[in-house]
């Protein structure tokens, strides 16, 4: 076996998993349901891993995998086709000509299958965190082990969660369909939530030592781009994609070489990805022209204002505070009010800001939240009330589970002590 052929095969398999696995899965699910589709696809990929290095990589890896997976699916259905429905599926799959199934891969209608997959694994009747796991497994093609790592759970636990989700989809009859127009917006919201959750998980790991999990953030961006194309640039999808780009553009400036987190006011703005910012802004413009702004559009507009500003002090905080006020009318989350208070403090001064933050102290969802303590500490520091600032930093450090964030807060606390 030539090492070259082996390398080529490995690259082709990796590319298939990244770019084509979800397309093929989507087409298979439509033909034979989730359980058989996934089993057959995994078996076909295993066959590729065994055969391609020796026999050479096929000219169309996706078509090869599809053909092998279909044969596996027919075998699997033969064994379990006891009920009439199973038999009908088997007949349809067997009678379909190879060529027809393969041309489906190139078909325009193919995108619809993948869109069905988006809506099915983000269905509201599936638990939220399971939706995220399914999206990573089925849409991104991550292995069960990788998904388990992203959630900090044992692979066996994740495997069981995915199996149960599949059982729920099949037994409970979660439809493999793109929702009707009247329901599209509500159902799309659930898909967008999942992508945002993947991105945030990649952006700030809730627990653990690495601040940015770039892989997951990249994955969310990739899926958002695919989704935008599939839903015909629906303004809500465009807005989310814009938001992700406008935040992700700052990734290189967000972490120091020693892994330390760098806040917005200390970031080297020369490191920001200008191309990504301008793409984000143009997508946001398109979304805003299409109708009244969604919550994602408002969030994206806030990030765009940060991205546009030459420095932290020059930022248009008055407009940012106003945008947070608008956002608060759409999403009733206390963290939005906290952000508004911080932006206000940049316009009206720390005293006013502190008053707003203290008023939020008892808000549900913010009690004991590290973001509240951190905002309070920062305002007290700006007011020169050092002893109180240090106490607030202590509370914030105590409350955060993210290691780099904890180090960042400790560093700010040390600065206050040093006077």
């Amino acid at each position: 076996m030539l090492p070259n052929a082996q390398r080529e095969a490995q690259r082709a398999i990796e590319a298939f998993v990244r770019d084509d696995r979800s397309r093929v899965l989507a087409a298979l699910v439509k033909r034979c349901g989730f359980e058989v589709a996934e089993e057959s696809l995994d078996a076909a990929i295993e066959a590729a891993v065994r055969q391609w290095p020796g026999e050479g990589t096929p000219s169309s890896p996706a078509a090869w995998v599809m053909a092998v997976a279909r044969r596996r699916a027919i075998d699997a259905l033969r064994h379990r086709a006891t009920r009439s429905q199973g038999r009908a599926t088997l007949r349809a799959l067997r009678d379909e000509r190879d060529a027809d199934a393969l041309s489906a891969l190139e078909d325009e209608a193919f995108g619809d299958d993948r869109l069905r997959l988006f809506f099915t694994c983000c269905h509201p009747a599936i638990a939220e965190e399971t939706r995220v796991a399914l999206a990573l497994r089925w849409l991104s093609g991550l292995s069960t082990d990788d998904v388990a790592r992203a959630f900090c759970v044992a692979p066996a636990t994740m495997a069981q969660r995915l199996t149960r989700a599949k059982a729920k989809i099949e037994t409970a009859g979660i439809p493999y369909e793109v929702p009707e127009k009247s329901e599209l917006r509500e159902r799309l919201a659930s898909v967008l939530e999942v992508l945002y959750a993947i991105f945030n998980e990649g952006y700030v790991a809730t627990a653990g030592t690495s601040l940015q999990r770039v892989d997951l953030a990249d994955e969310a961006l990739r899926l958002a781009a695919i989704l935008c194309a599939l839903v015909d640039e629906h303004p809500d999808a465009l807005s989310l994609r814009a938001l992700l780009l406008l935040v992700h553009a700052r990734r290189a400036a967000r972490t120091a070489s020693d892994g330390e987190m760098i806040a917005l006011d200390e970031q080297d703005r020369a490191l920001w990805d200008r191309a990504m910012i301008s793409l984000g802004k143009s997508l946001l413009d398109r979304a805003l022209r299409a109708g009244p702004p969604s919550a994602y559009a408002i969030e994206a507009a806030i990030q765009a204002l940060h991205d546009e500003s030459p420095s932290y002090v020059a930022t248009d905080f008055a407009q940012i505070a106003e945008l947070y006020r608008l956002l608060r009318a759409k999403v009733d989350a206390p963290i939005v009010a906290l952000n508004e208070a911080v932006a206000r403090s940049m316009v009206d001064g720390p005293e006013q800001g502190l008053r707003l933050v203290l008023a939020l102290e008892r808000a549900e969802g913010l009690q004991g939240h590290h973001a509240l303590f951190a905002a309070k500490a920062d305002l007290l520091r700006r007011l020169g009330r050092s002893a109180e600032a240090i106490a607030a930093y202590d509370a914030a450090i105590e409350a955060t589970r993210n290691e780099p964030e904890r180090r960042f807060l400790s560093r700010r606390r040390a600065i206050v002590i040093a006077g």
């Binding site: 009920r83 269905h123 509201p124 009747a125 599936i126 638990a127 399971t130 149960r164 059982a167 729920k168 037994t171 409970a172 009859g173 979660i174 439809p175 369909e177 929702p179």
Partner: protein, 257 residues
């Protein structure tokens, strides 16, 4: 008197049993079902898919909230039911203790509520005109209605009449659409008795299986194209506004009966 026999057992028992053990339980149920139906006293029955396939539906201020999972996350879960016609409560109890799960779970025996008009949900005339749905295009779901019984007790007669009216309307609608298969309102949980069999000893106690604030108050068994349609139907039940409707797929047990 009509009664519903509600079967509660730990689902983990099925998850950990071997295929042969599972098959033996199904065979035992098949035999029990045949015996019960041969008396001509049985009404309706269903076996439910496990609770990890359940979905809960609530409607608040006109907005629908759909959640993964059953109404209550308890170790022992409702796994199925039979309805029977019995002369006395003891006769109902005698049928309950013969249910296979009585030896490893509990059976709650609850009287079915007598409707004011005396008519069961859905008149026959509408049913005959309704489209005939079947397993070729549809799946069966059980919609379980959970509500705080206290709220019912504190209502005026007028308010109760209004609620009854809404249920009658809902039942007529789903009979006319062909979705309706069966459905019964239940007497309050205080009227329930719960039985289990320990060895050869029968243990009976007064009260429902679970002493919770919100109780099963009734059910509908329906045909629906998929979960989305089942959830839409569930959301139209008045209990979705005042309590929770749990949507459970019904298992296909035709191979055993």
């Amino acid at each position: 008197m009509q009664y519903v026999l509600l079967i509660y057992a730990a689902e983990s028992r099925f998850a950990t049993s071997t295929p042969a053990e599972g098959e033996a339980i199904m065979q035992a149920y098949g035999k029990y079902t045949k015996d019960l139906f041969s008396t001509g006293r049985a009404g309706d029955c269903a076996a439910l898919a496990p609770t990890h396939t359940a979905t809960s539906v609530r409607v608040r201020e006109g907005k629908r909230a759909v959640k993964d999972g059953p109404f209550a996350e308890t170790r022992e879960q409702l796994g199925g039911y039979y309805t029977i016609e019995a002369e006395t409560p003891d006769e109902a109890l005698a049928w309950a203790e013969k249910i296979p799960a009585a030896t490893f779970g509990s059976i709650e025996v609850r009287p079915i509520m007598k409707m004011p008009s005396g008519a069961p949900a859905g008149g026959d005339t509408e049913a005959s005109k309704a489209p005939k749905l079947s397993a070729d295009t549809h799946k069966q779901y059980l919609l379980l209605l959970y509500e705080d019984e206290k709220a019912w007790e504190t209502m005026t007669d007028e308010q109760r009449g209004a609620v009854f009216g809404r249920y009658m309307q809902f039942s007529e609608d789903i009979v006319a659409s062909g979705n309706f298969i069966a459905g019964e309102p239940l007497d309050p949980a205080t009227a329930a008795r719960t039985v289990s069999v320990d060895g050869s000893k029968r243990v009976v106690r007064d009260g429902p299986f679970a002493e919770t604030r919100e109780q099963l108050g009734g059910y509908y068994r329906v045909w629906a194209k998929n979960l989305d349609e089942a959830v839409s139907i569930a959301a139209k039940i008045p209990a979705a506004e005042s309590g929770t409707v749990e949507v459970r797929p019904v298992m296909d047990t035709s191979a055993y009966v």
